[in-house]
């Protein structure tokens, strides 16, 4: 599946087995997106949260 990066207009490849919540990134500009849902074979993305001070394991 493919979609377009809203930052730079580059092509973002979303794996066919992607699931809600997964992170994909734009190979051109590096912007990260979270998969919101896959609707009729079309991925719907939103900008991913930026890394936080408290992120980790």
């Amino acid at each position: 599946m493919k979609t377009v990066c809203e930052v730079c207009g580059g092509d973002i490849e979303v794996p066919d087995d992607a699931i809600k919540g997964e992170i994909v990134s734009c190979p051109d500009c590096g912007s990260e997106y979270e998969v919101v849902e896959i609707k009729g074979g079309e991925p719907i993305l939103k900008p991913a949260e930026e890394i936080g001070e408290d992120w980790g394991e």
Binding site: I19, E22, E49, D54, W55, G56, E57
Partner: protein, 285 residues
């Protein structure tokens, strides 16, 4: 039996746990903490019932996961519990807890202003290590070699105007081989252990910073210390980090939302399955 996996950014680990649960024919739901508000005090028609019998708290944001567990465990079995997370999320509290339980841990001190942090650093001697009390992946962990570096670093932290950055958690720089130990503890058992070798261009061993995972074989005495450390913060699914020093094994950190992609790449143990097994067992108990 239904297992819920709480996440805010889906990692390899959460997907692996979900896949193993499905293989075991367990109903599994992946729930995004960001889009699921919780009820603290009931309101007609609103409940937290969308969660399964047991919830694996796997948020990348420690603060989000901590408070989510606090609310949710009123109604559900949450792994790890709020109590465990409250200790593992915070390095200062982890150190205190380990020391109280007589678990060997690096010499550590804390200061609450730039001036007293400099005095403290001088007294402790260089090199030493500064760590944010909340944080992970070696982020903002620095080795300070002398007073000049301490001044530069502390002044920078002061200018961040972040309350947590004004807590100067200083630790001795432990002489160790170019590796540390990451033991994955599930319940009261070490299910697998790895050495994390620091990359050539970094003194930190975090896999997130390029540390290389190699399967470790621990000595019984080392295992004993790791288990004692895990018990000190409470039972759960934990990543216990320790260093081999001249004084023996020193436990320096415990991770309450352990990542195990690196360990899985070298271990023969099916780590996500062991986590699911543990959750199932806890529900039965």
């Amino acid at each position: 039996m239904e297992l819920s996996i709480l996440y805010d950014r889906l990692r390899w680990e959460e997907k692996a746990i979900a896949e193993e649960a499905k293989k075991m024919e367990i109903n599994v739901s992946l729930i995004d903490a960001k889009s699921h508000p919780l009820i603290l005090v009931g309101e007609d028609g609103l409940t937290n019932s969308k969660f399964g019998d047991v919830v694996l708290e796997r948020c990348m944001s420690h603060i989000r996961g901590l408070y989510y567990a606090a609310v949710l465990e009123k109604e559900k079995l949450v792994i790890n519990s709020y109590k465990v997370l409250s200790l593992t999320t915070n390095k200062l509290l982890t150190t205190l807890t380990l020391d109280r339980a007589n678990v060997p841990t690096p010499k550590t001190a804390v200061a609450f202003s730039l001036e007293s942090a400099l005095e403290l650093a001088d007294k402790m001697g260089y090199p030493l290590v500064i760590k944010p009390i909340i944080g992970s992946w070696g982020r903002m962990v620095a080795c300070i070699r002398d007073r000049r570096e301490a001044e530069a670093l502390f002044e920078t932290r002061e200018m961040l105007h972040e309350p947590l950055q004004q807590i100067y958690y200083l630790q001795e720089y432990v002489k160790r081989p170019p590796r540390d130990i990451r033991a994955i503890v599930v319940g009261d058992e070490i299910i697998t252990s790895i050495y994390r070798y620091q990359p050539e261009d970094d003194w930190r061993t975090n896999v997130a910073r390029g540390g290389a995972a190699v399967l470790a074989k621990l000595e019984p005495g080392q295992e004993e210390i790791i288990i004692k450390a895990a018990k000190a913060v409470g039972e759960g699914v934990l990543g216990v980090d320790a260093m081999e020093s001249e004084r023996g094994l020193l436990v320096h950190e415990i991770n309450g939302c352990v990542e195990f992609k690196g360990a899985s790449s070298v271990s023969t143990v099916n780590i996500p399955k062991r986590i699911v097994d543990y959750a199932v067992e806890k529900v039965k108990r």
